[in-house]
């Protein structure tokens, strides 16, 4: 039943062994299952061929009815580590002759081989005795034969995880996309576009494109600097541990250079291509995000309010790009985005309390949990109120608050549930609701935009 070792791939065999081991635990008569029995046969044959003395006592088990889970796991370990060892021997580069005239060739190679290959890995125990001001002591455990071979497998595996810090041009676009948090940038740019479209001015495509590109570049720059500042903190949080600077795919110098190369053209484009007000807002937003919000995250809970302002500015920039002035409509749009940030972020941070506490982040969800939920609910209701104010300020028609009422009521209801229940389930529901609530709200605003020439009942347009 078992195929020849040369035809079956090692991966398939390991998988078979794993599945067999799971089945062995539950079903006693393993040899009755054809492929399972064949697997045992193959593994034992391979293992006994290589180390006959050690496994003589196990051979006796072959004829028994029961095949134990431990037996299977042991065989699987031996197979995998021996496979790794043979693979390692294949990929290890041949040691080159030493070029230094001061050291002998053979002793060098031997020394290197000795140190690099055969040093057994000592697994540190988890029970550490610590003196108050000193580092943890690592106590070595006695290594047995089996552990030694498993450790060798582990060491080889660890060695394979080391990567050369060489920048490949092919990888660069992907790395820069992750560095600039391209998805978040896309969201920011879409809110700017919404602001531009909602502004009471004729839609100018060239102005729109310049705003689009300028804001995108400014956002990339701000995100890159944020990641540059936060490397050790990002390493310690599950959500952020795969960022490019954490993984060493890009150097800090390159990250800063990229940020500068985005910020300068971005702000210049906004200032001279669109208007100085938009450029100033863009520059201010970069400063607010990188120099205020990022350091403040570790100092005070006020960072959430600063972050909400950072999120509110892009649609205002879109509006000022179209109209050239900061009027009531711009402030309302900014206000809607500002209020939206709270249910979004507070709900998200509820599930990350452990990571924030360990990483030293000052977030409301950790230090002031009641305030966290209160603020989220408060701003859900504020969203409702601002949607009613929109037609009053001639941004939209009166249809808008009516058709937006269901989604606003729903998010307020979830905000209330989060406030009352204060558990993971309600926080997740609120967070996921906020993800679709905002795009839908902006879309509804666009469809209900008050056209030029229509009579309004609110403040006169500037």
């Amino acid at each position: 039943m078992a195929a020849s070792p040369h035809t079956l791939s090692s991966r398939l065999l390991t998988e078979m062994a794993t599945r067999s081991s799971i089945l062995a635990w539950r079903i006693p008569w393993m040899e009755k299952l054809g492929w399972g029995g064949g697997c045992i046969w193959y593994l034992e044959r391979r293992v006994t061929r290589e180390s006959p003395r050690r496994f003589l006592h196990l051979l006796r088990n072959v004829n028994q009815q029961w095949v134990t889970f431990q037996h299977f796991n042991f065989l699987r370990h031996m197979y995998v580590t021996q496979l790794n060892r043979s693979l390692k021997q294949q990929i290890k580069p041949k040691p080159e002759p030493a070029e230094s005239p001061f050291l002998e060739k053979t002793s060098l190679d031997e020394a290197k081989a000795e140190i690099c290959e055969m040093r057994p890995l000592v697994p540190p125990s988890l029970s550490l005795s610590r003196k108050p001001s000193e580092k943890a002591l690592i106590e070595p455990e006695p290594t047995s034969v089996i552990e030694g071979s498993i450790d060798l497998g582990k060491e080889t595996k660890e060695e394979k995880q080391w990567k050369e810090m060489k920048l490949r041009v092919d990888d660069l676009p992907g790395i820069l996309a992750r560095l600039s948090k391209i998805k978040l940038t896309a969201l920011v740019v879409s809110t700017t576009s919404a602001g531009f479209a909602l502004a009471p001015a004729p839609f100018d495509w060239s102005c729109f494109l310049l705003t689009f590109v300028g804001t995108g570049l400014a956002s990339c720059a701000a995100n890159s600097i944020n990641q540059f500042f936060e490397v050790p903190f990002d390493s310690n949080m599950n959500r952020t541990k795969n960022r490019p600077l954490v993984r060493g795919q890009i150097s800090p110098l390159l990250a800063v250079s990229f940020a500068t190369c985005c910020a300068v053209p971005g702000v210049a484009l906004l200032t001279w291509g669109v208007n100085p007000l938009t450029g100033a807002l863009g520059l201010f937003n970069i400063f607010l995000y990188t120099c205020c919000y990022t350091p403040l995250k570790r100092v005070s809970i006020a960072n959430t309010w600063v972050g909400a302002v950072v999120g509110a500015i892009p649609p205002v920039m879109g509006w000022t790009a179209a109209t050239g002035s900061l009027d009531a409509g711009a402030c309302l749009l900014g206000g809607i985005l500002y209020s939206w940030q709270f249910p979004h972020f507070n709900a998200l941070s509820w599930g990350l309390r452990e990571d924030y506490s360990r990483g030293g982040y000052c977030m409301m969800s950790v230090t002031h949990p009641a305030l966290c939920r209160r603020v989220a609910l408060r701003h859900c209701l504020a969203l409702l109120a601002m949607c009613v104010a929109a037609p009053a300020l001639d941004v939209t028609t009166w249809t808008f608050p009516v058709i937006a009422l269901p989604i606003n009521l729903y998010i307020s209801y979830l905000g209330f549930r989060f406030y009352r229940d204060a558990d993971r389930k309600s926080s997740r529901k609120l967070f996921f609701c906020s993800l679709w609530h905002l795009p839908l709200l902006l879309l509804l605003m666009l469809t209900c935009k008050r056209r030029a020439g229509e009579e309004g009942t609110g403040a006169p347009q500037s």
């Binding site: 140190i115 540190p124 000193e134 990567k163 810090m165 110098l253 924030y356 360990r358 030293g360 950790v366």
Partner: protein, 204 residues
């Protein structure tokens, strides 16, 4: 090219003497209380340095740094620095600064994470005892507290370590800026060195 083990030993030993000079230089450049704590930590860390040095040996032909998997305790990825034959004093200074910062960072986070887990275990144990519950449930799984009970511990831990984090933040920002600044200087130096021989050739 030096063999891997000598490189490893050199990398471990190299920061020991210049580290103090570097740290005092940093302190002179950016005066702050946080820096006064660093030399003390450095003394402890010199003992820790050999155990933190990785057993990894990059291939001989490689001329780049190598980065490893996240450390078990600190979650930071260790870097194995490449020492070129014609390393300039500036490049050496940069490498030593990065090496020292790496060790300092590893030490801080390993300490932080271990303290966190230890205190968390103690908290859970004491709360379970206060409730009169066993440390393990009927099925043999480890008993845990719910998120709201744990929130009290998270709040307390954060406020207890606030000052420590403030000093760490300040030190980290200074080091990060210094490393990036030196990287820029080294890059400019290399570009200048590449252009200079050509200029000499064209002038002669």
């Amino acid at each position: 090219t030096l063999p891997c083990d000598a490189r490893v030993r050199r990398a471990a030993m190299a920061p020991r003497r210049p580290a103090k000079r570097l740290v005092t230089a940093l302190c002179r450049a950016f005066s702050g209380r946080g820096c006064q704590l660093a030399p003390k930590r450095g003394a402890e860390r010199r003992d820790a340095a050999p155990s933190r040095v990785s057993r990894f040996c990059p291939p001989r032909k490689s001329r780049h740094d190598w980065i490893g998997p996240p450390d078990k305790y600190s979650n930071l990825r260790p870097i194995h620095f490449y020492i070129p034959e014609n390393e300039s004093p500036l490049e050496q200074k940069l490498r030593e600064l990065r090496q020292e910062t790496q060790e300092w960072n590893q030490q801080f986070w390993a300490d932080q994470n271990l303290t966190f887990h230890k205190e968390k275990e103690e908290f859970v144990r004491s709360r379970l005892k206060a409730k009169g519950l066993d440390l393990r449930t009927a099925s043999g799984q480890k008993a845990t507290l719910n998120a709201e009970e744990m929130a009290e511990f998270y709040k307390e831990f954060l406020s207890k370590n606030f000052q420590k984090h403030m000093y760490y933040n300040r030190d980290w920002y200074k080091r990060n800026f210094a490393i990036t600044f030196f990287m820029g200087k080294v890059a400019l130096e290399r570009i200048w060195n590449k252009l200079r021989p050509k200029q000499k050739k064209t002038s002669s």
